[in-house]
Symmetry: C2
Subunit: 206 residues, 2 copies
């Protein structure tokens, strides 16, 4: 059987995992199609023409239409469900954390994991090496902000799991791969445990 | 009279301008409160405690609640209006372009403008100078992707102006301040003219 949804992905990417986790929690089936980003498989002329002109994964294909950007794909899948709040402020506040994730968290926490665990420090360019210290500080600041919020709140928005939690969970739970010590953020650790206990949860390696 | 909405901002920031432009197009009044980011006025203990623990502007204050992240604030203001599509795919596709803006456009196009026009090249750190070339290439790639899309479409999503256009307009129309030549992107230029012709439009300096 052909699924209505095809996820173009790299399985170890947290951005791709967000979409799989959202779909799993909603009981939605996805066909998975893998690309090795380390071999440039998302920069081929065919990928650029047919999947994403931006040369990035994930892309959620919905029948014959393509939706790049992980958080937009999660929004599409969860729109109308309890994972997108009905309240106007809460809905915008959820997006606030999702934009925070893409601007202040992912470029630091995820990029350091990619550089240090997947590419390897020895293979980094001079310019990349020059950014490690700033990304380490900015990533720690993002985790600290999350920890402060989660010390007083069970989830990022309201009293239940929303896409804000999914978006921030994806790279936070593997932040040690970027050299971040999650032991310094106890409220984040307790929240990671809460998210993983959600019925329907799937692990990144599943 | 006290407005229900207070915008904590730096007037020359495109991220702050997005919110003013969205409000103007919707006929919503905002009280503006300015901070000089070059003097660190958004990193004071008072700002961090009362406005945004992330130390960034803009923040949209809605009565007594604060909403950071420019695109989330625009979403709050426009939610339920024609600037947020009713169609499920189009709504997610609008968010796709807004996440693209924050991930692939703003950190390159806006950051180079800030560094070169506001901070000044001589005052940049070694690490910042080492990133100019990569940001120049990534910013040009973002503008090129926009140009390809706009060569075939009047607006980013559907056939009317949405928040995707507002988000991308803010820093694109002043991209020359970061050393980008908009003459290379004719479809982007035609779209800038279309956006500026929208009834209710206000300029960044207004």
């Amino acid at each position: 059987m052909t699924e209505a949804y095809v996820l173009h992905e790299y399985s170890q990417s947290g951005n791709c995992y967000k979409i799989r986790l959202t779909a799993a929690l909603l009981g939605i089936a996805l066909e998975r199609r893998g690309y090795d980003i380390l071999k440039g498989e998302t920069r081929t002329p065919e990928f650029l023409a047919n999947v994403n002109a931006n040369g990035r994964i994930p892309v959620l294909q919905i029948v014959d239409r393509s939706l790049p950007e992980s958080n937009a794909a999660c929004f599409y899948l969860a729109d109308g469900s309890s994972m997108v709040p009905e309240d106007r402020f809460d809905r915008a506040d959820m997006l606030r954390w999702m934009f925070f994730e893409q601007y202040s968290h992912e470029p630091n926490v995820a990029t350091l994991r990619f550089w240090l665990t997947f590419v390897g420090e020895a293979a980094l360019s001079e310019a990349q090496r020059g950014q490690i210290e700033a990304k380490r500080a900015a990533g720690a600041a993002a985790l600290e902000l999350m920890d402060e919020h989660l010390a007083a709140n069970a989830f990022f928005v309201g009293d239940r799991l929303t896409l804000a939690d999914i978006a921030l969970y994806a790279y936070t739970h593997v932040a040690d791969g970027g050299g971040f010590d999650l032991g310094a953020y106890p409220a984040v650790q307790a929240w990671l445990t809460r998210v993983a206990a959600t019925p329907g949860y799937v692990a990144m390696d599943a």
